[in-house]
């Protein structure tokens, strides 16, 4: 099928690639289907809503931002995504990208968690003061 995207114009996608977010993403509960677009030659992954052309989250794997990122996936999420093995999980941090790219931040407190076996996803909320909502992606650079 053909979909309209915020950053890549119209693209052809395979319906099997669609990721279902049964509860949407907080703030955007009505958008329940996304497509992951890997931008060639970069580490950025774009989560484009199928329903809303203008809704696209830009993400990075959190391990690229902080080496030792880890959290316990909640029982609720394990059940909701029907997760069976840790290897089936993909984790992404949503980026907040201002005009000055060097000031971009990553949301480590609420990672996107995806079960690649069934393409179900959710945004996990981690109530942990040690995890930043706005973690600088670039450190100490001006």
């Amino acid at each position: 099928m053909l979909i309209k995207t915020k950053y890549f114009g119209e693209i052809q996608i395979d319906e099997k690639q669609i990721i279902d977010f049964p509860e949407g993403i907080p703030g955007f509960q009505d958008d329940k289907q996304y497509i992951m677009i890997r931008d060639e030659d970069t580490d950025f992954t774009f989560f484009q809503s199928l329903k809303t052309e203008d809704l696209c989250f830009i993400t990075l794997p959190p391990v690229l931002i902080v080496g030792d990122y880890g959290f316990d996936i909640s029982k609720e999420t394990v059940e909701k995504l029907e997760l069976e093995k840790a290897e089936d999980v993909l984790v992404y941090s949503i980026l907040n990208i201002p005009e000055d790219y060097k000031k971009m931040t990553a949301n480590l407190k609420a990672p996107i968690v995806i079960n690649i076996k069934n393409n179900k996803g959710t945004q996990e909320l981690l109530d942990d003061d040690k995890l930043d909502l706005k973690h600088p992606v670039f450190k100490g650079e001006e």
Partner: protein
């Protein structure tokens, strides 16, 4: 909204398997213990509001893709 007055160590039951206990009360703070099934989502309301705000800000960005591609992580 149902409003109930409770003292320290008193509880409220919600349905068959949720219990809310007032464990401590000070002048401007109450400590609450919650017993609920593990699959139930429980978090402070501010957290969800923070995440919503951050998602809305993140989605609102108009990013110049060509500039972003030059950004080395």
């Amino acid at each position: 909204m149902l409003v109930l007055a409770r003292k320290k160590d008193e509880s409220i039951l919600i349905g068959d398997n949720i219990e809310i206990v007032i464990t401590d009360i000070t002048e401007d703070k109450v400590k609450i213990g919650i017993e609920a099934p593990r699959h139930m989502k429980i978090f402070r309301k501010e957290l969800l509001e923070q995440i919503q705000d951050e998602n809305i800000k993140s989605a609102g960005a108009k990013v110049d893709l060509s500039a972003l591609r030059k950004t080395k992580i």
